[in-house]
């Protein structure tokens, strides 16, 4: 019997988010098509290593969230909480790397108005950054719930709903990283 993990409402929210990011990606791609040299030159100055490191951190956080959900399916509340804490640590690592990246950009006088590429780079990544912050709040709330033994095979809805949101944040980054940091 097919079953959608988590609350139906979160899936409509996820679709809306994917649509918003999709429009953003299309706008970036077509603006780039008309400003190839500028986009390629300014992309080359980005810290690709930081982008790749952040991809690893988000994927690893997603993996830890999966392990947390699997632990809850086995009624292992403490293990569920520990996996969620590990995911929170990875998410925090992502935010720290991004803050360093932004501070380096601002030192080079990069701003929303400095060029079309920088406008997209800053707005796209910051829009995503805000989603990671919300994801962290959700993970912390789930960690708190797991520590109190809230999740079990009889009550997975809250955990699956939050997990679906976190995976969406990861999914969007899987397009954003190659698009903004690699494709030229």
């Amino acid at each position: 019997m097919p079953r959608l993990a988590g609350d139906l409402a979160i899936w409509f929210f996820i679709l809306a988010e994917l649509l918003a990011f999709g429009v953003f990606f299309a706008a970036y791609a077509f603006t780039r098509a008309n400003n190839i040299e500028l986009f390629d030159a300014e992309q080359a100055a980005l810290n690709r290593n930081a982008g790749a490191l952040n991809t690893v951190l988000l994927l690893t956080a997603s993996y830890f969230v999966v392990r947390a959900v699997q632990a809850a399916e086995l009624r292992l509340s403490h293990a569920c909480a520990r996996w969620l804490l590990a995911a929170i640590a990875c998410g925090a690592g992502f935010l720290i790397v991004k803050v360093f990246e932004y501070s380096a950009a601002f030192e080079h006088n990069i701003s929303l108005s400095s060029s079309p590429f920088h406008m997209f780079y800053l707005s796209l990544t910051f829009f995503h950054f805000m989603h990671v912050i919300l994801g962290m709040v959700i993970l912390i709330a789930m960690w708190n719930g797991a520590r109190r033994g809230r999740y079990s095979p009889d009550d997975m809805n809250g955990l699956e709903t939050g997990a679906a949101y976190w995976h969406m944040v990861d999914l969007v980054w899987l397009v954003l990283f190659p698009l903004v940091y690699v494709i030229h």
């Binding site: 019997m1 097919p2 079953r3 959608l4 993990a5 899936w11 996820i14 679709l15 994917l18 649509l19 999709g22 990606f25 299309a26 791609a29 077509f30 780039r32 098509a33 008309n34 190839i36 690709r48 290593n49 982008g51 790749a52 991809t55 690893v56 994927l59 690893t60 997603s62 993996y63 969230v65 999966v66 392990r67 959900v69 699997q70 399916e73 095979p153 009889d154 997975m156 699956e160 997990a163 679906a164 995976h167 969406m168 990861d170 999914l171 899987l174 397009v175 990283f177 190659p178 698009l179 940091y181 690699v182 494709i183 030229h184």
Partner: protein, 93 residues
């Protein structure tokens, strides 16, 4: 009680390792300065594959009604199709 749909730890660990490997591949293509239609096709395939793992396994949509897989995987296809069209449009004539 809900049906168990989130797979085994072993499967999740293997998928995570392949996702990390695929990320290193994308990063390596950036370091090597890979460019052109072939490079973007490979980047699109890697990104789509990674997205499919997140959608089907991590989000557990493999066990959801077909419509949800169509909507999410369809989003990946559409986004990469648009990126590819824009990329080709920007190539020197």
């Amino acid at each position: 009680m809900n049906s168990v749909i989130h797979g085994t730890p072993r499967r999740a660990t293997v998928l995570w390792a392949t996702l990390i490997f695929a990320t290193l591949l994308t990063w390596g293509m950036g370091v090597l300065g890979a460019t052109g239609k072939g490079a973007i096709a490979l980047l699109a395939v890697i990104s789509f594959w990674k997205g499919a793992v997140i959608i089907l396994d991590f989000m557990a949509l493999r066990h959801a009604p077909l419509l949800w897989r169509v909507l999410t995987l369809g989003w990946m296809v559409l986004v990469w199709a648009v990126i590819a069209i824009a990329y080709i449009k920007g190539l020197p004539q």
